[in-house]
Symmetry: C2
Subunit: 386 residues, 2 copies
């Protein structure tokens, strides 16, 4: 029952633990529902928290079901108020689901995983079905959802159709006859709607389990790509290593607990030791989970060399035919800068080195007749060859 221990350790709330134990003890292959949002397909270790829980359930022999909310994705926001919800075509929803699932393979055995699209049942519902669905819930109960409540009480626009979304999402549990649904703590309300609707439709209520949202590398905001405070599952081993070193000490323990499956006592040991070593251990675990454990020594060496101001091995090479070039043009050519004015700012900011020497003259003509290494900041390098 090591799997279950990890699951329970990470859970914030379980509705209810007694029912969870009963279902798990029933010997039945359980249906574990997970609502995926493939509209943001760049998965990071924040996303990995629920996915690793699913992995535990999968290893226990249960059936993982990803529900792709293509139905609402295809409708978009008919009120036109939300810019983040443009209507997608059928093909777009399939394509983004594919990209999403491709990344999920880094954690789950996708061959054993079921993927369903909720348009399958929602598009078949008629007005009578929807009236029946809506009759199961009171307005007051729906308006308990925090964001609805805030908008309603502060007289911010809240359209009628938005109130239907939690019911649709909840109905997915009915359609799937889900045994367990897991999600982030921000999904608690929606998951509970599913649990209650199942009862109204004469099914056994699903167990609802919520898991924490991982804080970003800034130690403050929720990890997200748009805030650039994330460690991506598809980041290179070096990026993973380097970002691991930047995790604030104060949240490193949380990262171990949520983003890895290392046993709690081992985590406690690590955190009681040297903090730099702890960061190394975290990086190593990441590479073990998502890349190759052997990568660790390679990226660590590179990292150490840069830390000492040296030029790492195995840097990217680019071939340039010209014999010489203005330094700004060169920075644009190798894509360090997106424009000459940006290149000028990089130089005057003393960020640009050639062969480890800081360059200050924006008009300098760089000799390209022999190999040189261009560097920006601490860890951007390009070797220019003939």
């Amino acid at each position: 029952m090591e799997n279950l221990e990890i699951i329970k350790r990470k859970a914030v709330q379980i509705f209810s633990e007694k029912e969870l134990d009963e279902k798990l003890n029933s010997g039945k292959k359980l249906i574990i529902k997970f609502g995926a949002d493939p509209s943001r397909p760049d998965l990071h270790i924040g996303h990995s928290v629920p996915l690793r829980i699913l992995k535990q359930f999968q290893d226990m022999g249960h059936q993982i079901v990803f529900v792709i909310g293509d139905f609402t994705a295809m409708i978009g926001d008919p009120s036109g108020k939300s810019k983040t919800r443009p209507a997608l075509t059928y093909e777009e929803t399939r394509k983004s689901a594919e990209t999403y699932m491709q990344q999920v393979t880094k954690i789950l055995d996708v061959n054993k995983t079921k993927i369903v699209f909720n348009s399958e049942w929602l598009s078949k519902m008629n007005f009578e079905d929807i009236i029946k669905l809506a009759s199961k819930y009171t307005v007051a109960r729906i308006l308990e959802r925090d964001d609805f409540k805030n908008r309603f009480e502060n007289n911010l626009p809240l359209s009628m159709h938005e109130l239907l979304y939690p019911l649709m999402q909840g109905y997915d549990s009915v359609a799937l006859n889900a045994d367990i649904e897991i999600g982030g703590t921000d999904q608690t309300f929606n998951l509970l709607v599913g649990r209650e609707l199942q009862k109204d439709y004469g099914e056994d209520s699903q167990v609802v389990m919520t898991f924490p949202l991982l804080v970003g590398l800034d130690g403050k905001e929720k990890m997200s790509k748009s805030l650039d405070n994330y460690i991506g599952l598809t980041d290179t081993p070096f990026e993973k290593f380097e970002k691991s070193m930047k995790i604030p000490d104060s949240v490193l323990k949380q990262y171990f607990e949520l983003a890895t499956d290392i046993p709690q006592n081992e985590i406690d040991n690590i955190m009681n030791g040297d903090i730099i070593e702890a960061h190394f251990k975290f990086a190593k675990e990441l590479l073990k989970m998502y890349d190759k454990e052997e990568d660790f020594e390679v990226v660590k060496q590179r990292y150490d060399k840069i830390a000492k101001g040296g030029i790492p091995e195995n840097i990217k090479e680019i071939e340039i035919l010209e014999d010489n070039m203005n330094i700004c043009d060169l920075l644009v050519k190798i894509s360090f800068a997106s424009s000459k004015s940006e290149a000028r700012r990089m130089i005057t900011g003393r960020g640009v080195k050639i062969n480890s020497i800081v360059k200050e003259d924006i008009n300098e003509l760089i000799d390209l007749s022999k190999e040189i290494v261009v560097q920006f900041g601490k860890n951007k390098f390009i070797k220019i060859i003939k």
Copy 2:
């Protein structure tokens, strides 16, 4: 433009009068929507108020459309909370619509009247259509409806599906492309939803006109069958006459203004004269509208005779074979009483007369060998013949 004068005189609110005039002046045959509730098919002169308005529009050459809400009638109340809304079958909705329209013939030319059932379009809507419809309205705006507001603010149950009903009713206006919708003042909110939705769906907004609810014969409550304070369109001429005499003097003018089409100056003249004469005039107008004007003198004579304690002419006759019968058995036999104990109470209460003589002995054996007249109270008579 006499028709329009009558319409405007009776209206409480018009959204907007300017648009109404423009539509009427366009020369177009306008679509006038009226939402009928055939679940209560016993029409009374309270119902006649909007129906007589429709008659005016019909006489002006416009197209009257009765919308029968069979869709919601067939769904019933899926939450099971409302006992007044049991689900009806398709046949039941058609049958009650027929009974309803039969009574409408007393006011409108039904051959020129269109009857539509909203299941025609509502049953074809899918989840996407409904999301689109719901997106047109904010929650705050729907909760402005008085009954919703009261229930919501007083924490009384208000189910999600109920919020969809005004949208459905409003969508009927979109489906019909209605030019004008009329209804009672209690329908103002719903009618305005239709007006606003039409704009959202790219149609011209319908003009909304609301009309007063007629007060009942008690002078207090809204006229309704369940409160037994009504004058039914299918009441006998005598019942209409008798009930007209019972209209409280204080509301008689309102009855003239709303339930008849007599010009205002004439109503003022009537009300400035003798009040008993005014009641007679109202009764006469009712008979003129719904029965035969000539009936007036007949029922008035009968009424006068009873008022003087006499026995009216043309009373109902019943044949009884027995030569004699106990008085209580007789009262049950002719359906004056529903049981012998009720018959006894009627006699001991000195309410029963035979041939104008009060009967006091509950054991009396009544001689039926010759014709007699049995009377209960002031105006229930039956002649027993051989």
